[in-house]
C-alpha cells in the first residue's frame, strides 16, 4: 500500500479506507522506535471497536505498546500470518504487516487523522 494514500494517527496507526472497509496497521516510524518486536496480540474477528479503543498490543523485549482503533466498526479479519512473521512489520509495514480489517460504522474519527506529510512532520517534531 502506498503511504501517500493512507491516513495516520498520532499514536502511529495507519488506516486505509475504501468505502466502509478499513485496513489498519502500524507505521514504519513506530516499528523502528519500538525496536525488535517479539509479539503482537490482535483481537478476535467480530469484535466491535470504538474509535480510540485499544484493539491489541505489540511487544518488544523491554516495552509494550497498545494499539488504538482509528475508527469505529467491527473487526472482520485479522492478519493471522503476522504473529509468526513479525519481520513483516519492519520489512513491509504498509503491506504484509497489516493487522486488522474492519467494517466501519462511523468514520467521523478519520476526519482528524493526518495525511502522510502531516504525520511525518509530527514524527520529526516528536523525535527531537
Amino acid at each position: 500500500m502506498d503511504p501517500a494514500t493512507l491516513l495516520f494517527s498520532t499514536s502511529h496507526e495507519w488506516l486505509h479506507l475504501d468505502g466502509d472497509q478499513a485496513t489498519i496497521g502500524i507505521t514504519d516510524f513506530a516499528v523502528e522506535h519500538l525496536t525488535d518486536l517479539v509479539f503482537v496480540d490482535l483481537p478476535e474477528p467480530g469484535r466491535a471497536l470504538a474509535a480510540g479503543e485499544i484493539f491489541g498490543e505489540v511487544e518488544s523485549v523491554k516495552a509494550v505498546s497498545d494499539l488504538y482503533a482509528p475508527v469505529t466498526g467491527e473487526v472482520t479479519e485479522i492478519n493471522t500470518a503476522l504473529p509468526d512473521d513479525l519481520d513483516a512489520l519492519s520489512e513491509d509495514p504498509f503491506g504484509r504487516g497489516w493487522m486488522i480489517r474492519m467494517t466501519v460504522s462511523d468514520a467521523t474519527a478519520a476526519e482528524s487523522l493526518l495525511n502522510e506529510i502531516a504525520y511525518r512532520t509530527h514524527c520529526n517534531a516528536a523525535g527531537h
Binding site: D36, V38, F39, E59, V61, L86
Partner: protein, 495 residues
C-alpha cells in the same frame, strides 16, 4: 580452568541407572500400592510414562552446581552497585543463626507454648520496625516489598470503607518502582501517574491538580529513585491529608534514612520495609524477600494477621500469642511470613543497635556521595547537589560525543569484575546509570570502580558495543528468546 563439562544441563549429564538419594528400606508391611490407593488415582506403572527426572550421582550434582555458581557475580565475590537494590554485605553469622535447630525446623502449627522463643523474636522485631518507621503498628506477614504495598493498599481500602468512603484512585510519580502501579491495580484501584518537576522531585502543583475526594493513596518513595530526599515531604503529605487521602511510603530506600528521620514523622501513614535490602536478608538471586508493613495507629486494626501480641503470665513473665487484628483485611500468604528472612533482619538490628543503624545510613550516604564526586565530571548527575544513598548519572554526553551508551558501560564493567549499575531507570534521566555503592564498600573499591569507568570511556566504542568480552557468555539474543520462547529443556532439543 572452566569446567564446561560439568555445566552442561542436568538433563544432558543424566545417565540411566545413576543414583544420588537413597532411602532406607521400607520397614512397614509392603502391601500392594493399589490396595492402599485406588488405581484410578495412581500414575501408570509404565516406567517410561512416569516423571522423567534426571539420574545423577551426588558428585555429579555437586560439581554441576559448584561450577554453575562460578558463572555468577554476587556480593560475596564482586562490587555490586546496583541502584535501588541495596546490595550490601550479607553477614555470615545470620546464616548460622537462622539455621539453628528450634528456628529453622520449627513447624508453624507447633503448640503456642512451644514457639515462645520465635514469638519473642518476632514481637521484638515488630517493635523495632515500629520504632524505625515512627509508625506504631507492624505486620510482618508480607512476603516481599510488592506484597507489602498490596497489603497496605488493601488496609487503606478497608479503612476508607469503614468510614463510609469509597475512593478509587492511587497516585504516584512517574519515577515510581513498577510494583507501585502493579500493586495498586491488583488491589482494585485506578492508577494515575504524575510528572516530576525538573528538579526530579514531586511537583507540588501537579500533585495538587490531581488530588481530590477520589484520591485514596499517594505512593511515594523517599528518598526517591533519583536518590534525592523529597524536601517538601511535609507539604506533600499535608496536601494529601487535606483531601482525606493517605500517604504510602515505599521503603525501598530506607538504607539512606534509618535512624536519621522517620516516615511516620514526615507524614507517612503506611510503609513497607524490604528486609532483603535494608536489613541484609540475602537476595538469593531473586528472593526470598520479606516486606513487613508499618501503619498509623488508626489503621492498625485492618492489618493482615497474625500479629504477635504479648501479655504477662501469672508469674509476671511475658507470654506471646498470635492474634488477628479485629478488622483485619485477612491473610496475604499462608503461615506467618518469610520468617527465615525476618530472623536475619532481627539479627542485623540486634547487631547494629541504635548507633549502628544510624551509622549505616550515614556511611551509605557518604559512600554514594564520594563515588558520585569521582565520576560526575564524566557521567553528569543532573539532579541534586548531594545525593542520599544512590545517585543517577547520565551517559547522554558520552553517547552523543563518543557513541558510548549506558548499556555499553554496564556491559563492559562486567569484564573488569564489577557488577553493572541499574541502567535506563528511572526514565526521567536519559542514558541513566543508577549507582548505589552501599555502606559496606571501601574507598579503595570505589576508587577502582571510578578508575575503570574512566578507562572504559576512553575505549573504542565499537569494542564496547560488543562487550562484555570476558564473561562466560557474550550478549544473549533477547529477541530470539522472546519470539520463540524455549522455557524448558525437552529431549528433542537436547543432545
Amino acid at each position: 580452568m572452566r569446567n564446561s563439562l560439568a555445566t552442561e544441563l542436568l538433563f544432558a549429564l543424566s545417565r540411566p541407572g545413576r543414583r544420588a538419594a537413597r532411602f532406607p528400606d521400607c520397614d512397614v508391611p509392603l502391601q500392594p500400592l493399589d490396595e492402599l490407593v485406588p488405581s484410578q488415582h495412581l500414575a501408570t506403572a509404565d516406567r517410561e510414562k512416569r516423571p522423567t527426572l534426571p539420574e545423577l550421582t551426588e558428585a555429579d550434582v555437586i560439581r554441576h552446581f559448584h561450577n554453575l555458581s562460578t558463572l555468577n557475580m554476587s556480593v560475596d565475590t564482586h562490587f555490586y552497585p546496583l541502584g535501588s537494590c541495596t546490595m550490601k554485605y550479607n553477614p555470615k553469622r545470620h546464616e548460622r543463626l537462622a539455621g539453628l535447630p528450634g528456628l529453622v525446623d520449627l513447624h508453624p502449627y507447633q503448640r503456642i507454648n512451644d514457639q515462645q522463643g520465635m514469638l519473642a523474636l518476632l514481637y521484638d522485631l515488630q517493635k523495632m520496625l515500629a520504632e524505625i518507621s515512627g509508625l506504631p503498628a507492624v505486620s510482618l506477614q508480607p512476603a516481599a516489598g510488592a506484597q507489602g504495598e498490596f497489603a497496605a493498599l488493601l488496609v487503606a481500602s478497608a479503612w476508607f470503607r469503614s468510614r463510609g468512603e469509597s475512593r478509587s484512585r492511587v497516585l504516584f510519580p512517574s519515577s515510581a518502582h513498577g510494583t507501585n502501579p502493579a500493586s495498586a491495580a491488583i488491589a482494585g484501584f485506578e492508577c494515575l501517574q504524575l510528572k516530576e518537576g525538573t528538579d526530579g522531585l514531586v511537583d507540588l502543583a501537579e500533585l495538587e491538580q490531581h488530588l481530590d475526594e477520589n484520591t485514596a493513596v499517594f505512593m511515594i518513595t523517599n528518598p526517591n529513585t533519583l536518590g534525592l530526599f523529597e524536601q517538601q515531604i511535609e507539604e506533600i503529605t499535608e496536601k494529601v491529608h487535606a483531601v482525606g487521602g493517605l500517604v504510602y511510603i515505599d521503603g525501598a530506600n530506607m538504607n539512606a534514612i534509618m535512624g536519621i528521620t522517620r516516615p511516620g514523622d514526615f507524614g507517612g501513614d503506611m510503609m513497607h520495609f524490604n528486609v532483603h535490602k535494608t536489613f541484609t536478608g540475602p537476595h538469593g538471586a531473586g528472593g526470598p524477600g520479606a516486606g513487613p508493613i508499618a501503619v498509623r495507629e488508626e489503621l492498625s486494626e485492618f492489618l493482615p494477621g497474625p500479629i504477635v501480641t504479648s501479655n504477662l503470665d501469672d508469674d509476671g513473665n511475658p507470654h506471646f500469642q498470635l492474634e488477628d487484628p479485629p478488622r483485619s483485611i485477612g491473610r496475604v500468604r499462608s503461615h506467618f511470613g518469610n520468617v527465615g528472612i525476618l530472623v536475619r533482619g532481627y539479627c542485623y538490628l540486634r547487631t547494629l543497635g541504635p548507633d549502628g543503624v544510624r551509622d549505616v545510613a550515614r556511611h551509605a550516604v557518604l559512600n554514594a556521595n564520594y563515588l558520585k564526586s569521582l565520576i560526575c565530571d564524566l557521567l553528569p548527575v543532573p539532579h541534586g547537589q548531594h545525593c542520599m544513598h544512590e545517585f543517577v548519572a547520565s551517559a547522554a554526553r558520552l553517547k552523543e560525543e563518543r557513541d558510548i551508551s549506558a548499556m555499553d558501560i554496564a556491559k563492559r564493567l562486567l569484564d573488569f569484575g564489577f557488577h553493572a549499575p541499574t541502567v535506563y531507570f528511572p526514565l526521567v534521566v536519559p542514558e541513566a546509570m543508577m549507582i548505589e555503592p552501599t555502606e559496606t564498600e571501601s574507598k579503595r573499591t570505589m576508587d577502582a570502580f571510578a578508575e575503570t569507568i574512566r578507562t572504559i570511556a576512553a575505549e573504542d566504542p565499537g569494542f564496547l558495543h560488543e562487550a562484555p568480552h570476558q564473561t562466560p557468555v557474550s550478549r544473549p539474543d533477547d529477541v530470539q528468546a522472546a519470539r520463540h520462547p524455549v522455557l524448558s529443556w525437552t529431549p528433542e532439543d537436547g543432545s
